[in-house]
């Protein structure tokens, strides 16, 4: 059984209130989700809180997962990512996001083919599609995604009016959508 199918099954079992399945799901998925939380929070203590909140969400919301509308691994990853972004925003991110070119990492990671260790075709497609965005749009989308930066924060970081950020973001997302749907 593939890792994805296993996570899918464990998630469905968790939805029935099966604690043993929940434990196994944690064993299988927590390292990945912790990696995501760490990448976004860049703080171990905060990432641990995020992981705890994410798994509480997973326990409570497992029955809402619908395998016809996406895969279980991505569903779990989104929960961790969103929780991490919420945690960062609650904390106030201080100097983070204040500079335009330093320490983004996100853009480089997303564009680095060596990172595609799972050989996902979708991932390569996404990287290809990101390549069609102009650099500014791509930076904005990725910083919003990996760092949870808001329009206002992005406007400050790029020294650009908020409305311009909105326009760039949307152009970027539209290009992405068109490319992904090809």
């Amino acid at each position: 059984m593939t890792a994805d199918a296993e996570i899918n099954d464990l998630l469905r079992m968790t939805a029935t209130g099966d604690r043993a399945a929940f434990r196994l799901l944690y064993d299988r998925a927590a390292p990945k989700l912790f990696g995501i939380a760490l990448k976004i929070c860049r703080d171990r203590t905060l990432a641990e809180d995020v992981l705890q909140e994410a798994f509480a969400d997973i326990w409570h919301r497992a029955s809402r997962f619908d395998s016809r509308r996406g895969d279980a691994g991505a569903w779990l990853a989104v929960i961790a990512r969103n929780r991490a972004v919420d945690a960062l925003r609650r904390q106030g991110r201080g100097v983070m996001g204040a500079t335009r070119h330093e320490g983004s990492g996100a853009v480089e990671d997303a564009a680095d083919p060596a990172m595609t260790d799972d050989g996902g075709v979708d991932y390569l497609t996404l990287v290809d599609c990101l390549g069609r965005l102009d650099e500014r749009q791509r930076d904005l989308v990725l910083r919003a995604y990996y760092r949870g930066e808001t329009r206002e924060e992005l406007a400050r970081a790029f020294d650009t009016p908020v409305n311009t950020v909105k326009t760039w973001l949307r152009r970027g997302l539209l290009t992405l959508r068109t490319c992904l749907d090809e």
């Binding site: 029935t16 992981l51 989104v78 969103n82």
Partner: protein, 218 residues
């Protein structure tokens, strides 16, 4: 789909637009974008979380103190005991010989076994082995498939007449150490029912098809 509405959903997924006031349809659109964008998380390297974090999560969820809910129908239970009593165990010896050595050659030999077989045809659907005194089971599905669009759900049936306890959906592959809230003993039974894809909505088996009694192994 309207372009602007779709871009609103995309921005809500990204987090650059608040979700407040989202319609159910808008939520589905946002979730579709979330799935799309989650591809960006694929290259993130896994990192082992600190030991003890799962215990924190369990405690946070109140799992250590919440007792199993037992508000279940006695009538159904009696029917189930009847079914369990009818289960044949003719394939037990064979299954034990064929399956156990490949399962866990280095672990102490399990003492209890239940072969959960079709009440109609005798075809086995899963083998459950248990160490005496342990409240964990090794579950080995043997390849029986649920009817299209349905799922198999596993149940533990205590001999004392208390209601069936769901063990979740039948896994596709062997599962070692599935935790049980009880210590099964000879006379208890395991069973499999046919359910809607997510499992029984009532907490009780809907359509019982397979069952097997716990027996001590020779």
């Amino acid at each position: 789909m309207g372009k602007e509405r779709d871009l609103d959903a995309a921005e809500r997924a990204l987090g650059t637009l608040p979700r407040k006031g989202e319609t159910p349809k808008g939520r589905r659109e946002r979730e579709a974008w979330e799935q799309r964008l989650a591809t960006l998380l694929r290259p993130v390297e896994p990192v082992a979380p600190p030991p003890g974090l799962f215990a924190r999560i369990s405690e946070h969820l109140g799992h250590h103190e919440t007792r199993r809910e037992l508000a279940r129908s006695r009538r159904t239970t009696r029917r189930w005991q009847g079914i369990a009593a009818l289960a044949g165990l003719t394939v037990a010896g064979l299954a034990a010989l064929l399956l156990l050595p490949t399962l866990a050659p280095d672990e102490p030999r399990a003492r209890l076994i239940a072969v959960v077989a079709s009440d109609e045809t005798g075809e086995a659907a899963m083998v459950v082995t248990l160490d005496a005194d342990a409240n964990a089971a090794t579950i080995v599905p043997t390849g029986a498939r649920a009817p299209d669009g349905r799922a198999f759900e596993m149940w533990y049936l205590p001999a004392d007449g208390s209601p069936p306890v769901s063990l979740g959906l039948l896994p596709a592959g062997p599962v070692a150490a599935q935790a049980l809230d009880a210590t099964p003993a000879p006379g208890d039974a395991f069973a499999i029912s046919v359910e809607a894809p997510g499992g029984s909505a009532t907490g009780l088996p809907t359509d019982a098809r397979y069952s097997g009694r716990v027996e001590a192994m020779e």
